[in-house]
C-alpha cells in the first residue's frame, strides 16, 4: 500500500542524465571534428572506467548495483572529465582521473546526490596539480591522423612538444609574461577570430547544448546568466582599465571552459546551490574567481578551482538564500 500522490510525472534520473549527455553531443562533435577523434577514445576510456568504478563501489558499499549503474549519472561525470582533459593525454591519466572522481569524489561521500564537490572538477584539479606538463599539452587544429593520435594516447610516444599548440589562455599567459601586449598576442594567427582557432566554435557548441538544457527545463537560467553577466562585467571593466594587460569579455567567455562551466559544470545540481538566489550567488562567485585565477593566478583556466571553491560555500549560500514561504512575505498582503 502506498500513499498519494498516485500520479507521477513521466520523469526519472536516467531521463535527466540522458538529456544532459545528449546536450553535450554538439560540443563533443565540434571538438572531435576540429581537433581529432582522440576525444572520442578518451570519452570511451572515461566511460568504461566510470562504470567499472561505480559498480565496484556500489558492490563494496552493499548497494544494489543495477539501478545506479543505469541511472547514467556516472556517464555524465565521465564525459565531463573527458572533455576537459587534453585529448592526447596518455590513457592511464584519464583512467586515474576518472577513478578518482568516482571513488573519492562520489562514493566516499555517499554516492549519488551526496558529493559536496563536483567530481569532474575534482579529477581535473587532481591531474593538473599532479601532472601540470601533461595537462598543458593541447593539440592544435587537426594534429596528426587518428593512428598517430592513438599512438600518443596508448603508445607512450611523447614527442608532443612539436605538435601541441598552447591553448589560447596559455598563449595569452605566456605572451603577457614575456612582456607582450594582450591585444597583440591575440592578433596572432593561432588565435582564430576571438579566442583561439577552433576554440570559439567549441565554446559556441557548449552554449547551444546549454540552451537545449534550458529549453528542456533541466537547468534554470540563473546559473548561466549570472556566470556570463559577471564574467563579462569583471573582464570588461578590467580590459577598459588596462587593455594591454587584460583580455575582454568576448575572449573570456569563448576561451577555455567558460561556456561549458556556465551551462554544464556550475549547473550541477548535486554540488551546486539550489535556491534561485543561491544559484545567482554561486555562479557569480565562480565567474569572479575564475577570472581572478585567469588574470592573476598560476593556472591557465580557473573554472575548475573556482567551482570547487564555490562548492565549499554552497551550504552557507543555500541557508542564507531561502526564498520566502507562501504567506510569509510582506505579512501576506498582496
Amino acid at each position: 500500500m502506498y500513499n498519494s500522490p498516485y500520479l507521477r510525472q513521466n520523469t526519472s534520473v536516467r531521463r535527466v542524465m540522458t538529456t544532459v549527455l545528449v546536450a553535450m553531443l554538439p560540443a563533443i562533435a565540434v571538438q572531435s571534428w576540429l581537433f581529432g577523434a582522440a576525444l572520442l577514445v578518451q570519452i570511451a576510456l572515461a566511460s568504461v572506467t566510470a562504470l567499472a568504478c561505480e559498480a565496484l563501489m556500489l558492490a563494496l558499499r552493499g548497494r544494489p548495483v543495477a539501478p545506479a549503474l543505469t541511472d547514467m549519472s556516472a556517464l555524465v561525470t565521465a564525459w565531463l572529465i573527458a572533455v576537459c582533459l587534453p585529448p592526447l593525454l596518455p590513457w592511464w591519466t584519464t583512467v586515474l582521473g576518472t577513478a578518482f572522481a568516482l571513488i573519492i569524489g562520489k562514493h566516499l561521500y555517499g554516492g549519488l546526490g551526496q558529493n559536496p564537490f563536483n567530481p569532474a572538477m575534482l579529477a581535473y584539479a587532481l591531474l593538473i596539480v599532479s601532472f601540470p606538463a601533461l595537462m598543458s599539452q593541447w593539440p592544435g587544429l587537426n594534429v596528426g591522423d587518428f593512428a598517430t593520435q592513438m599512438d600518443w594516447v596508448f603508445g607512450g610516444a611523447r614527442a608532443l612538444d612539436g605538435v601541441t599548440g598552447a591553448t589560447p589562455l596559455d598563449a595569452l599567459r605566456t605572451g603577457l609574461m614575456t612582456g607582450g601586449d594582450a591585444a597583440a598576442v591575440m592578433r596572432s594567427t593561432a588565435f582564430g577570430h576571438i579566442a583561439g582557432a577552433g576554440w570559439e566554435w567549441v565554446a559556441l557548441a557548449w552554449g547551444a547544448g546549454g540552451l537545449l538544457l534550458l529549453a528542456l527545463r533541466i537547468i534554470t537560467w540563473h546559473v548561466p546568466v549570472a556566470f556570463v553577466a559577471v564574467m563579462s562585467l569583471v573582464s570588461g571593466i578590467a580590459s577598459l582599465i588596462d587593455p594591454a594587460q587584460f583580455a575582454g569579455p568576448a575572449f573570456h567567455l569563448l576561451a577555455g571552459g567558460a561556456m561549458m562551466g556556465a551551462f554544464f559544470i556550475a549547473t550541477d545540481p548535486v554540488s551546486g546551490a539550489t535556491t534561485p538566489r543561491g544559484k545567482l550567488v554561486f555562479a557569480a562567485g565562480i565567474a569572479l574567481i575564475a577570472w581572478l585565477i585567469r588574470a592573476f593566478g598560476a593556472y591557465p583556466d580557473g573554472i575548475a578551482f573556482a567551482v570547487l571553491l564555490m562548492n565549499i560555500c554552497v551550504p552557507l549560500i543555500d541557508m542564507k538564500t531561502q526564498p520566502p514561504v507562501f504567506g510569509h512575505k510582506n505579512g501576506g498582503a498582496p
Binding site: M1, Y2, N3, S4, P5, Y6, L7, R8, Q9, T11, S12, V13, R15, V16, P67, A68, D71, S73, G111, L112, G113, Q114, T220, P269, V270, G272, T274, T275, Q322, P323, P324, V325, F326, G327, H328, K329, G332, A333, P334
Partner: protein, 571 residues
C-alpha cells in the same frame, strides 16, 4: 469586467482525466440495503446519538445532535429502522472504526414534517444554529462545519466571499457537474452567505477547463443581476482549487499557514456547500446526500447523487468495478486517501471514489537518492524547499524540518509528482508531522504529569506547613491555657503534651499484639491436631527434604532419586 488575476508559484499540470465522468448527467443512486451513518463526519466534536437501536427514523430526521458549537448534526437519509449503533469501519487510511448509526431503509422514504424556517426574518445567529442542526459542512473535502465560517470577521466584516469551483484534482468532476446543473441555486446560496458575512463582493473561481460550468454560472449570475457577484475563470493548474491558492489567484492575498483567511477579510466556500446552505434554508433539507464522482478503473465512470452512509462497495457496483482493480481511493490521485475496504460508507467528505489499477496508477518506481535538482522546489505551491524537508525528515531531524516550514506543507503532492528520483516526499512529511505531534502529545502528557506531581508535592508541603503552624499555634496557646486548665487531672495534661501520640502508639501496639496472637493461633491450627502417624509422616518428609537439600548441595542427584523411589512403598 476584466479582473486582474494573480498567480501562485509552482503547481503542476497533470492530465485532468475529467472527460469520462462528465459524459452523462448526475445519476441518483438507489438506496443500499443498509446505510452506515458515522456520527463524526466533520472537524469538531462527535455528535451525540439521538436514536436507539430499534427506533424507526424518518427521512431528514436528526439522528445525531451537534456536540457544542464546533460540531454539526447528522440526519437519516431515508426512513427505516435503526439496527445498530456501533463502531464501524471508516473511509480513512488508518482503517479505524468510529461510532455509526446503521439504518435499514424500509423503502417508503417517509419524510419528517419540514419545520418552516423563515431565514429571511431570522437573526444571523439563528441562521447559523439552523445550519449547524441541518448538518451543513464544507463539501470540498475539509468538512469544516459551515456555520462557524459564516460570522462576519471582527475587524470591519468580510471583504470578499470566494466560492471555490476550481476543482483541480484530476478525475474529480462532482463540483463541475453540480455547477452545470445547479448554477443558479449555488449562486443563491452564495448570496445568502454574502449577507451573513456582510461581504462586499462574491468571487466565484472556476478553472478554465470547465467551460460549461463557467458558462452556466455566468448565465445564472446574469439572471440574478447582482452587481457584487462575479464569476472568474482562472487558469487550470493544480492545486488552483486549494483554498489558499484560489484566494491568492483571485485577490492576491497570501494567507499564511496557521492564520485564517478571515483575518485578511476573505472567506472561502466550496460551490457544493453553497448549494447545501441554500437547500437547507430554502427547502428545509438537511444534508443527507452528496454528489460523488466515481472514476478510474470502472466500466461506467459517472457522478452519482449518493445518500450519505451508502457503503462504498455498493457505489462501485453501480459503476462497474473492473476486476483488475488493486486499490480504492477516496479523493483524487494527488491527495486522495487509500480506502481500508468496501464496507466503509460514503461520508460528507467523499467527493470522489477512485478505483486504481496497476495500469492506471502504476506503483512507484524504486526510490533513488535525491540529486538536489530542485524540481520539487519549483513545483511547490507553498514555496518550500521540499528536498530540505525530505532530508531533515529522513534524518529524523524534526527541529530542522520545522525550521524549513514543514507545517506550511499542504501535502498537495506536487513535489512527489515531479521528483525524478521517485522519492515519496509527502510520505516523509506525513511521517515527520505525525512524529512531531506524537512528541508534542508525549510532552503534554509529561507536562501535565509533572504538574500533577508538583501540585501533589506542593499540597503535601502545604499540609505539613499548616500542621506545623497549627501545632505551633497550639503550643503557643498552651501556656496561656494551662493556668485555666489546672483543675483538670494531670494525666490529661500529660497526654496533651504529646498530642495524639501516646494513645495512637498504644492502639497500634495493642493491634499488633492482637494480630500476633491471631497469627499464632492460625499457624498452630495446622499441626495442633496431628495424629502420631501424621506427625511421623511430617517428620519423614522433613527429613527427606533435608536429605534432598544435602544431596543437591553435594551434587548427588542419583541418590536423591533413589531415596525418593525407596520412600514410595511406605506411602
Amino acid at each position: 469586467m476584466l479582473r486582474k488575476l494573480f498567480s501562485f508559484n509552482g503547481g503542476v499540470k497533470p492530465d485532468p482525466n475529467k472527460g469520462a465522468s462528465t459524459r452523462e448527467p448526475i445519476a441518483r443512486l438507489p438506496l443500499p440495503p443498509q446505510l452506515i451513518i458515522p456520527l463524526h463526519q466533520h472537524i469538531g466534536g462527535t455528535p451525540r446519538p439521538l436514536v436507539k437501536v430499534g427506533d424507526r427514523v424518518l427521512h431528514g430526521q436528526r439522528i445525531g445532535a451537534a456536540d457544542g458549537n464546533v460540531s454539526s448534526a447528522v440526519h437519516a437519509p431515508t426512513s427505516g429502522h435503526v439496527v445498530a449503533i456501533e463502531p464501524r469501519l471508516m473511509p480513512h487510511a488508518s482503517g479505524l472504526s468510529s461510532m455509526a448509526v446503521v439504518i435499514e431503509p424500509d423503502g417508503q422514504d417517509q419524510r419528517i414534517e419540514r419545520e418552516p424556517f423563515d431565514w429571511h426574518a431570522a437573526s444571523p445567529g439563528e441562521v447559523r444554529d439552523y445550519l449547524r442542526d441541518a448538518g451543513v459542512v464544507g463539501l470540498g473535502g475539509a468538512v469544516f462545519p459551515s456555520h462557524l465560517k459564516l460570522a462576519p470577521g471582527k475587524a470591519g466584516g468580510t471583504d470578499t466571499l470566494v466560492l471555490n469551483g476550481a476543482e483541480c484534482e484530476p478525475f474529480i468532476t462532482c463540483d463541475d457537474m453540480l455547477m452545470r446543473s445547479e448554477a443558479e441555486d449555488i449562486l443563491r446560496g452564495a448570496l445568502v452567505m454574502q449577507k451573513m458575512l456582510a461581504a462586499k463582493q462574491v468571487l466565484v473561481g472556476v478553472e478554465d477547463n470547465k467551460p460549461e460550468a463557467a458558462a452556466a454560472l455566468k448565465a445564472a449570475a446574469a439572471a440574478l443581476a447582482h452587481a457584487s457577484l462575479d464569476v472568474v475563470v482562472v487558469p487550470t493548474r493544480y492545486p488552483a482549487g486549494g483554498a489558499k491558492q484560489l484566494i491568492r489567484v483571485l485577490t492576491g492575498i497570501e494567507v499564511p499557514h496557521g492564520s485564517r483567511s478571515t483575518d485578511y477579510g476573505v472567506q472561502c466556500f466550496n460551490v457544493a456547500t453553497a448549494l447545501a446552505v441554500w437547500n437547507a434554508l430554502e427547502h428545509g433539507e438537511p444534508l443527507t446526500r452528496r454528489i460523488v464522482t466515481v472514476a478510474g478503473n470502472v466500466d461506467r465512470p459517472r457522478n452519482f447523487d449518493v445518500a450519505i452512509g451508502t457503503p462504498i462497495g455498493f457505489v462501485f457496483e453501480h459503476a462497474g468495478l473492473k476486476p483488475d482493480t488493486d486499490k480504492l481511493i477516496m479523493g483524487g490521485p494527488m491527495m486522495g486517501i487509500p480506502l481500508p475496504g468496501v464496507d466503509a460508507p460514503v461520508v460528507k467528505a467523499t467527493n470522489c471514489l477512485l478505483a486504481s489499477s496497476p495500469a492506471l496508477f502504476p506503483p512507484p518506481e524504486p526510490e533513488l537518492p535525491c540529486i538536489r535538482c530542485g524540481e520539487c522546489a519549483r513545483a511547490c505551491p507553498a514555496d518550500l524547499q521540499p528536498f530540505e524537508l525530505y532530508w531533515h525528515s529522513r534524518a529524523r531531524n524534526f527541529g530542522r524540518a520545522q525550521e524549513y516550514h514543514l507545517f506550511d506543507c499542504i501535502e498537495c503532492g506536487c513535489c512527489a509528482y515531479v521528483c525524478p528520483s521517485h522519492i515519496p516526499l509527502v510520505d516523509y512529511y506525513r511521517y515527520a508531522k505525525s512524529e512531531i505531534w506524537a512528541r508534542e502529545r508525549d510532552k503534554d502528557a509529561a507536562d501535565s504529569a509533572r504538574e500533577r506531581f508538583e501540585f501533589r508535592n506542593w499540597r503535601a508541603e502545604r499540609e505539613k506547613e499548616e500542621k506545623a503552624a497549627k501545632l505551633a499555634a497550639r503550643s503557643a496557646a498552651k501556656p496561656a491555657a494551662k493556668p485555666a486548665a489546672t483543675d483538670k487531672p494531670p494525666a490529661e495534661g500529660d497526654t496533651a503534651a504529646t498530642p495524639a501520640e501516646d494513645p495512637k502508639k498504644a492502639l497500634i501496639e495493642a493491634a499488633m499484639a492482637r494480630a500476633k496472637a491471631q497469627k499464632e493461633a492460625v499457624a498452630a491450627k495446622n499441626t495442633d491436631t496431628l495424629t502420631p502417624a501424621q506427625q511421623a509422616q511430617v517428620e519423614a518428609a522433613e527429613a527427606r527434604r533435608k536429605l534432598a537439600a544435602d544431596m543437591v548441595a553435594t551434587g548427588d542427584g542419583e541418590t536423591t532419586r533413589a531415596t525418593a523411589t525407596a520412600d514410595k512403598p511406605t506411602e
